[in-house]
C-alpha cells in the first residue's frame, strides 16, 4: 500500500461520483453522486495524513470538515427537493431549470 494507490482509489471514487452528478436527472440521485465525491475527498485526506504528515492534526480536522459537509449537503438538498416538490411538483434538475423562464 502506498500513497499513490490510496489517492488513485480516491480519484476513482471522485470520478464515479462526478459522472453520477453530471448525468442523473433526479435531484436525489445527483446528491448521491456528490456524496461519493466527498467520500473520495475523505479518503484522500486520510491517506495524506497517514503518508505525509501524521504528526499534524490538520489532516484529521479536514476529514471532520468533509464529513460535516456531507451531512449539510444532504440535509439542505432534501429540504430544497421538498420545497420544490411542494410548490411545483418538480423532482428533476431539467424541470427545475425551466423555472427561470
Amino acid at each position: 500500500m502506498t500513497l499513490e494507490l490510496f489517492l488513485l482509489l480516491a480519484a476513482a471514487l471522485f470520478c464515479v461520483g462526478l459522472f453520477g452528478a453530471l448525468t442523473q436527472q433526479s435531484i436525489v440521485m445527483l446528491m448521491m453522486g456528490l456524496e461519493l465525491m466527498l467520500g473520495g475527498v475523505i479518503l484522500a485526506a486520510a491517506a495524506a495524513w497517514h503518508y505525509i504528515a501524521p504528526a499534524a492534526s490538520e489532516g484529521q480536522v479536514l476529514i471532520v470538515v468533509a464529513v460535516t459537509a456531507m451531512a449539510l449537503e444532504m440535509a439542505i438538498g432534501f429540504a430544497v427537493v421538498t420545497a420544490l416538490f411542494r410548490s411545483r411538483e418538480i423532482d428533476m434538475t431539467d424541470m427545475a431549470a425551466e423555472l427561470k423562464e
Binding site: M1, L9, F14, T23, I42, S57, V61, A71, A79
Partner: protein, 186 residues
C-alpha cells in the same frame, strides 16, 4: 494482511460506487452507496484513524437509512419494477469524467510526494480532540454555526405550515393547531 484488506475494501468501494448508478431499484442504489461509503470508513480505519473511520460508519448508516426514505418519496419508480433511464448528457459526462480521472492520475503518479515527516501520535483521537478544542477552535465553531444554520434552513424550506397556520391569523390561539399531537401533553 493489511494489503489484502485494502484490496478487498478498495474493490468493494469502487464496485458499490458504480452500482449506485446502474441499479434500477432505488433501495438497492442507496444501499450500494452505503456499502461503498462503509468501505471508505474501513479504509480510514486501516490508515490508523480509528475514531474518524468509526464515526464515518455511524454517520453514513444513519444518513443512508434516511436517504432511502427520500429516494422512495421523490423517485417515480422507486422499486425499479419497470426499468427506465433517467439520465442526460451521458457521453459528455463520460468524457469529462475520463479527462478528470486521467488528469488526477497523472498528477498523483507524477507529483514528487514529500517523504513522511514525523510519527503518528499514540492516540490520534486525543490529538484530534485537543486540536479541535484548541488551535482549531474557530473551525469547530464555524462547523457548529453551519450545522445550526442548516437546521433552521431545512425546517424553513421543508415545512408547509407557518405560525399563522398553527396559532391562527391573529396569533392568539392558546394551543397550536397541529395535525399530529405531540407527546408532552399538548
Amino acid at each position: 494482511m493489511d494489503v489484502a484488506v485494502f484490496w478487498v475494501l478498495a474493490v468493494l468501494a469502487v464496485a458499490g460506487a458504480v452500482m449506485v448508478f446502474r441499479f434500477d431499484s432505488m433501495a438497492r442504489a442507496t444501499f450500494s452507496l452505503l456499502a461503498s461509503l462503509l468501505c471508505v470508513g474501513g479504509l480510514v480505519v486501516l490508515l490508523g484513524l480509528d475514531y474518524l473511520g468509526i464515526v464515518i460508519v455511524l454517520m453514513m448508516t444513519i444518513e443512508m437509512a434516511i436517504m432511502a426514505v427520500f429516494m422512495v418519496m421523490y423517485m417515480m419508480n422507486p422499486a425499479g419494477l419497470m426499468p427506465m433511464t433517467m439520465i442526460h448528457n451521458k457521453k459528455g459526462a463520460a468524457v469529462v469524467c475520463g479527462l478528470v480521472f486521467a488528469l488526477l492520475a497523472a498528477g498523483i503518479l507524477l507529483a514528487p510526494w514529500p517523504a513522511r515527516r514525523g510519527k503518528a501520535p499514540a492516540d490520534p483521537t486525543m490529538e484530534l480532540g485537543m486540536s479541535l478544542m484548541g488551535p482549531q477552535m474557530l473551525t469547530m465553531m464555524t462547523l457548529g454555526m453551519a450545522l445550526f444554520a442548516t437546521i433552521v434552513a431545512t425546517v424553513v424550506l421543508a415545512t408547509r405550515r407557518g405560525r399563522y397556520d398553527r396559532f391562527g391569523d391573529d396569533l392568539r390561539a392558546r394551543r397550536a393547531d397541529d395535525p399530529v399531537r405531540g407527546g408532552v401533553g399538548r
